[in-house]
């Protein structure tokens, strides 16, 4: 009897401890292995290229864990709290400052000297900005993305545009004409869940973030004007305020003939709308005071709990060689972060990619502040109050600015 009870307790303790252990699958177990966390599609494909790395460096093994983007933030928080993170982690550029601020990322400054491929000059300006936090090098850009204008050539031609609209005025005019085609037709689709879109307009209007200021310079008239421009698309019925049809379908049907998106959309359109071939194209975003877009993408960083910094550096270094970047581009269709890679024929001779390359030159990164998530999300909430709730632009922005101030205190 007693042994039975003892066994059952032993069993439950074992179950419990394996459950707890399951939560902390951090750093690789043995000396040879480094663990790498990669998000989304990248995580699924990284294994293939990691094998190449293992062939070149037989003394290092790579254990790649794919994490869906939706769970990534939670998982990283847990890793910080438990101090059991991976060795190498892929970080979305807007998250870098948050985790760097928490002291969760290793300072790579001294390694940059030994690895010329890590030098800032190798990367697009917007991407290079995300490498640093508080004077330390905390990440190396892996791939980049930027937003461009996707448009239906045939439909724009019908309303008299042989080229994509290149200024704010033209964009508005073209949208108006396209929306006038009939009920339930829209001109220019704005994704209301995209945190970066309002700031892209602001940048085009010569707005600059000022990280020294508590309100980030968000009280500048250029910013207010940009938000007015953004929301006017909804007020005038040029953009849809309801979720409606999936954007690919709407683009196919011609209901939403223009939208802003990133490089991943090229593949999606090619796969899901093959009959649309030759009827659509991409162009750099229209300008107001200047041409501008956002630069995003991911960096590689090393988690502060890692005990295998040297090995991790080797891996990051391998991933950022021009050849690897080209190979990775062919595998995953994500854009290389190294400017040099864009000189290779694979990218240079591709017309569509050239547009992305052109846009990247003027693409800006979000400020390196730890509360970026609040700044981005609260603006979307304010915009929702304006477009759906019918609130006053000035009033909502005033409220938004005070929320930003409060978060940054």
């Amino acid at each position: 009897m007693f042994t039975k009870v003892g066994l059952s307790i032993l069993a439950s303790v074992m179950v419990l401890s394996t459950m707890l252990a399951g939560c902390s699958n951090g750093s690789g177990d043995d000396e040879k292995t480094i663990s790498v966390w990669a998000m989304g599609e990248e995580g699924k494909k990284l294994n293939e290229i990691a094998k190449k790395f293992e062939d070149e460096h037989p003394e290092i093994k790579v254990d790649v864990q794919a994490i869906p983007w939706e769970n990534a933030h939670d998982k990283l928080l847990t890793a910080v709290a438990s101090q059991k993170g991976p060795d190498v982690v892929q970080l979305g550029t807007t998250w870098v400052s948050e985790f760097a601020d928490a002291g969760a990322l290793v300072d790579l400054s001294e390694h940059v000297k030994d690895h010329p491929e890590f030098a800032k000059e190798n990367y697009f300006e917007g991407a290079a900005k995300t490498m640093e936090y508080d004077g330390k090098i905390v990440g190396i850009p892996w791939y980049v993305e930027t937003r461009v204008l996707f448009y239906r050539k045939d439909l724009l031609e019908q309303v008299g545009y042989t080229n994509a609209p290149s200024t704010w005025v033209e964009l508005k005019d073209a949208s108006q004409k396209l929306a006038d085609r009939g009920d339930n037709y829209y001109g220019f689709d704005i994704d209301r869940n995209d945190q970066i879109m309002p700031f892209i307009f602001a940048w085009q209007n010569d707005f600059e973030f000022d990280e020294e200021k508590q309100n980030l310079n968000l009280d500048s008239p250029a910013f207010t004007e940009a938000i007015q421009y953004y929301t006017s698309f909804f007020e005038e019925g040029l953009s849809s305020t309801s979720e409606g049809i999936d954007i690919v379908q709407a683009f196919k049907d011609g209901v939403k003939p223009m939208f802003v998106s990133g490089p991943w959309m090229v593949n999606i359109l090619n796969e899901q709308a093959p009959d649309l071939k030759d009827k659509w194209s991409i162009a750099i975003l229209p300008k107001k005071e200047q041409v501008a877009s956002s630069i995003g993408g991911s960096n590689f960083s090393i988690f502060s709990s890692s005990e295998k910094v040297e090995k991790s550096i080797e891996f990051i270094s391998f991933m950022n060689e021009v050849d690897t970047q080209i190979e990775w581009f062919e595998m995953s269709n994500t854009l290389p972060s190294r400017v040099e890679a864009w000189e290779e024929p694979e990218l240079k001779d591709n017309e569509m990619l050239a547009t992305f390359g052109e846009q990247l030159k003027t693409a800006k990164s979000t400020p390196q502040i730890e509360n970026w998530e609040v700044v981005g999300q609260e603006l979307l909430n304010a915009i929702e109050q304006i477009t759906v709730g019918g609130a006053d632009v000035e009033k909502q922005l005033e409220k938004y600015r005070s929320e930003v101030k409060e978060a940054r205190e």
Partner: protein, 299 residues
């Protein structure tokens, strides 16, 4: 001393059996409550999580801020709205379905037991995808059916009040199954002799239902009410997967508010304060229910 140890040793069996359950409860429920209580007086954020020396004690500031936060007020209102409509609906629906299913035991009834139970065990993400299509304003099934009747499109998830009701509908559909099982089990535990006696006395079906069945189900009803109410006060999954609290914070619940503050904005101290308010809310509501039950008469 020795005899005390011996006495405990002799009575060890019950403790050994409840030991694992108590341990799990302690580690995963009781301790976190105290930790959350403590955290709610600090400004814990990601920095503090990485290095505890960055945490500072800020007294009641989180609570002060919470009571000034419009979104939190809205989340309380929404939570009360959800529970106020959802809980009675779940109880009425699951009780009616259980009564109907209790009429027979042939294959048809068995199949329908499965049909009503299925939603409770279906993954919420799968449900969200399907119901997302059903509720879609442009090409959803619901609006298509309405269009056949020449009715206007309903913005199921795009108008704050309608969105709340849509989520309630979804949650009721999902929540009926498990409570129906409890009611069914309780129904089958009612001795047949009561009904036979009632028949001899000439009682009709309605009299039997209201004089025998429903009174004898009161323990099951009490259990279902308490668990359902607690579940609805923690309403989270549905707005989380369907609307993320929008439009205009119209569907944000207290639990979702806490999640967003904690895990999206990394304001753990603030979120902990929110979760403690919710905790007290639930405790009070549950105690009130126990109080009410004690006063009802015994048969």
């Amino acid at each position: 001393m020795g005899s005390g140890v011996k006495r405990i040793y002799h009575k060890r069996h019950p403790y050994l059996f409840i030991g694992p359950a108590v341990l799990i409860l302690l580690v995963f429920s009781i301790v976190p409550i105290f930790v959350a209580f403590f955290i709610s007086f600090t400004d814990l954020d990601l920095k503090g999580l990485a290095n505890w020396s960055n945490i500072s004690f800020i007294g009641l500031e989180n609570y002060h801020e919470l009571f000034r936060d419009d979104v939190f007020h809205k989340s309380i209102f929404n939570t009360v709205f959800y529970a106020g409509i959802g809980v009675p609906l779940v109880i009425i629906c699951s009780l009616s379905i259980a009564l109907l299913l209790n009429y027979g035991s042939n294959l048809l009834f068995k199949v329908f037991r499965g049909v009503y139970y299925m939603p409770s065990i279906t993954n919420i993400i799968a449900i969200a995808v399907i119901w997302g299509y059903l509720y879609n304003t442009e090409y959803g099934l619901f609006n298509y059916l309405l269009s056949l009747l020449d009715a206007d499109k309903i913005p199921w998830l795009e108008e704050p009040t309608i969105a709340k009701l849509s989520l309630i509908l979804l949650a009721v559909w999902k929540g009926v199954g498990i409570n129906m099982i409890i009611f069914l089990a309780a129904l089958q535990g009612i001795p047949k002799s009561y009904y036979e006696a009632a028949k001899i006395d000439g009682a009709n079906r309605f009299q039997m239902l209201f004089r025998i069945t429903i009174p004898l189900l009161r323990y099951a009803t009490f259990f279902v009410t308490i668990t359902t109410l607690i579940g609805w006060l923690q309403f989270f999954e549905e707005p989380f997967v369907m609307t993320q609290g929008g439009p205009l914070n119209g569907t944000i619940s207290m639990a979702l508010f806490i999640y967003q503050k904690g895990f999206q904005f990394s304001q753990f101290g603030y979120a902990a304060a929110g979760s403690f308010v919710l905790f007290i809310f639930i405790i009070v509501v549950t105690l009130v229910q126990f109080k009410i039950r004690k006063s009802d008469t015994e048969y």
